[in-house]
């Protein structure tokens, strides 16, 4: 089995996931980790697939769905990496009046700590004249939650945003 990362985007409408995954199933592909969500009116899929035949077969299998639903598809071969050891131990919530630079300043500060972002989701919402930006980051902070709080604290005033930092330890029962 070989692995590939499959990217699919198309204007959101019912049936995209069903059409794509059915085509993959028929082409003997197995689906691994996946993220599928609507972004800005488009439906987006990024997923790891395992395929037993060649790339061309996968593309040919997807073709009817691509045409019918107006999708754009991209396949990248990837090698299988060992399971990452770090788990999310911190969740950061950021919100404020939208303006350029929020993500860059927050993630720049985090990168300085060696913080590894595992999941970042954001949304621009609110009134079009006064848009609100909301972002939730989950990741692994090697130095723990207090270091993250300390490094982000000055950004509240600097960027005029609210930032809250929570420890999200995984507990095994």
């Amino acid at each position: 089995m070989s692995q590939a990362l499959l990217t699919v985007i198309g204007e959101d409408r019912p049936g995209i996931v069903a059409a794509v995954t059915q085509a993959l199933y028929v082409a003997d592909c197995a689906i691994g980790d996946a993220s599928m969500m609507r972004l800005g009116g488009y439906f987006t899929i990024m997923q790891v697939i395992e395929y037993s035949r060649d790339f061309g077969t996968v593309e040919a299998a997807l073709d009817p769905a691509v045409r019918r639903l107006g999708l754009r598809v991209h396949l990248d071969p990837i090698s299988s990496l060992p399971q990452q050891e770090d788990v999310a131990n911190v969740r950061i919530t950021v919100y404020g009046a939208d303006h350029p630079g929020i993500v860059a300043s927050v993630t720049g500060a985090l990168a300085g700590l060696g913080f590894n972002i595992i999941d970042l989701e954001s949304e621009r919402s609110g009134n079009p004249e006064r848009p609100l930006y909301v972002m939730v980051i989950q990741g692994s902070a090697p130095g723990g939650v207090e270091n993250v709080r300390k490094i982000l604290e000055p950004l509240k005033e600097q960027e005029g945003i609210e930032i809250s930092v929570h420890a999200t330890d995984t507990v095994l029962f």
């Binding site: 788990v87 969740r91 939730v136 330890d169 995984t170 507990v171 029962f173």
Partner: protein
Amino acid sequence: MAVLPVLAYPDARLQRVSVPVECFDDDLRKFAGDLTETMYAGPGGVGIAAPQVDRLLRIVVVDVRPRLGEACHGLMVLINPELVAWEGMAVGREGCMSVPDFTGNVIRAEKIQVRARDVQGRDRFYECEGFEARAVQHEMDHLDGLLFLDRLVSRKTDLFRRKKYQTREPGPA
């Protein structure tokens, strides 16, 4: 005392509903001892429920001292436990020794009141919060054949996001 084998999903026996304990005898006390020893021997070591060792009895054992030190109730053997009150909600990432290698976000009450019997059949009443409350709720779910997998919330789910759904129409209370 003995360490008992622990069932792992997808073993269908984990999804059965346990029955109340009626006989508070030496056999029960021996089993409660074995269950406690099995808990301490586990990877998490802070909680276990009887159905996890293939005994369909409403018994859970929780001891979160490995994590919280003495700031908790210590060893609790809860027989026929009932949740009589709860408040607050918190998201936390949980794992379970019956669900190897998978963790996920679950919403639990932050504070709970539990009524139960002890191994002598005496009435007991506990108020738990935070991590201890989460452990009790996780273990009590096993008595109803539920795993934390049944309560998974999306990575995107966050209490912060839920706030916008909690606004109520103004009007008479």
